[in-house]
């Protein structure tokens, strides 16, 4: 994997994530910067994608995630991949702390929501979660291990970002999610030339 963009969200509190982030059309919720992390602003479905680069068709989105413990099936903290500029069109993963079915993969096609896959894995706030789309393969991961994987062919292009789902409603303060140290990238192996230009390879050269 190669990181193509990253954001540690280390900046002053704000009601937006900044210039490189674009709210997904059609989802009513928004995101804030709070205490150097990204946090949901409203308790409502929300998606936002990193628009500072042009994303390859195959990409991933990952971050340290946290979520309150009161989410149920399909809801929680997560990611969107192949997030289209069109309204509510993307693949989405959600992670919550419910006892079963707490890792979900779904799709939204012009607002039509279809639940594609579900699995169960206990996780702790701050763990690294990741959502991959590679060809027609979708993989939701926790701490590097694949929890849910399936195949879907609906969407072929789009952007990488964050996703949040909750059905409680606007104004509720008891449900929220947090992301930190976000990274998006592709599945290419870093080139030798790139590595040789890095300090790390210079160290290796010294050893030899």
């Amino acid at each position: 994997m190669t990181a193509l963009a990253s954001d540690a969200f280390t900046r002053a509190d704000n009601t937006t994530l900044g210039a490189n982030w674009t709210l997904g059309t059609g989802d009513p919720g928004t995101f804030d910067i709070v205490s150097n992390q990204a946090k949901t602003h409203d308790d409502h479905d929300a998606s936002i994608y990193y628009s500072g680069i042009a994303w390859p068709n195959d990409h991933y989105s990952k971050a340290n995630i946290s979520a309150t413990t009161n989410f149920t099936t399909d809801d929680g903290s997560g990611f969107c991949v192949r997030r289209s500029a069109a309204a509510r069109t993307y693949y989405r993963s959600t992670f919550n702390h419910s006892g079963t079915g707490n890792v979900q993969v779904s799709k939204e096609i012009a607002g039509a929501y279809t639940n594609l896959s579900s699995g169960t894995q206990v996780w702790t706030d701050g763990d690294v979660a990741q959502f991959d789309v590679q060809g027609t393969a979708l993989r939701a991961k926790l701490s590097g291990s694949t929890i849910v994987s399936t195949t879907d062919s609906s969407l072929t292009t789009g952007n990488s970002g964050l996703f949040y789902s909750s059905e409680v409603g606007l104004g509720d303060a008891t449900h929220f999610a947090i992301w930190d140290n976000w990274e998006g990238g592709d599945f290419a192996t870093a080139s030798v030339i790139t590595q040789m230009n890095s300090g790390a390879m210079a160290e290796v050269g010294t050893c030899i």
Binding site: D45, T100, N115
Partner: protein
């Protein structure tokens, strides 16, 4: 991990509070690891469930709308269930007349998965249904609405398929049969609930 495969209806309107999902997800297998291939916007899907308990499997098999696939996918279908397999597929507007007694159950679920992928791409492009308003597998391409014809051709092109068979006289059955076969010949393996079919 053992994968059990079932065909069943999809329920749900697709809204946030009523997402499209396998018909018995909530009532029979809410706690299990599963995934589905939806047949695009058609009301039907192929579901894979990992390590399903025996009693849950029994409950699912008892549902009249559920078709259970044998766990041993490499077993040939044989002449006994052949007619039923064909009619079950055709009943949900999936080409079924190609199935022979010598085919394995893996051949069948791979084909279903492949045609589902084709339907999903169509869904992503056009967000519509094929089998509505009297359209059946026997309907010819030339008699489909123009928007459907355009999207069908674009769907095939998006996969890099040979589209020479998509002519005015070609039936939807022939087009979907070709799409399924070309998908299996050219695309990556299908993964259902973490298992490669």
């Amino acid at each position: 991990m053992t994968l059990s495969i079932y065909a069943m209806p999809i329920v749900g309107s697709g809204t946030a509070h009523d997402g499209r999902r396998p018909a018995y997800r909530d009532s029979v297998f809410p706690t299990l690891t599963w995934s589905q291939f939806d047949y695009g916007n058609e009301p039907w899907c192929l579901v894979g469930i990992a390590d399903i308990p025996t009693d849950t499997d029994t409950t699912l098999r008892a549902q009249t709308q559920v078709i259970a696939i044998p766990t041993n996918l490499d077993q040939t279908i044989g002449s006994g269930p052949l007619a039923q397999v064909r009619s079950d597929l055709e009943a949900v507007n999936m080409p079924g007349t190609w199935v022979q007694a010598s085919n394995t159950w893996r051949d069948v679920v791979q084909f279903i998965g492949a045609v589902c992928q084709f339907a999903q791409r169509f869904q992503g492009m056009a967000a519509g249904r094929w089998f509505t308003g009297g359209i059946t597998l026997a309907t010819t391409f030339g008699s489909l609405p123009q928007a459907v014809r355009t999207a069908l051709a674009a769907t095939a092109t998006s996969f890099g398929f040979d589209t020479s068979g998509i002519t005015g006289a070609a039936t939807l059955r022939a087009i979907l049969l070709s799409a399924g076969q070309q998908y299996l010949a050219t695309q990556p393996p299908l993964i259902l609930a973490g298992t490669t079919l």
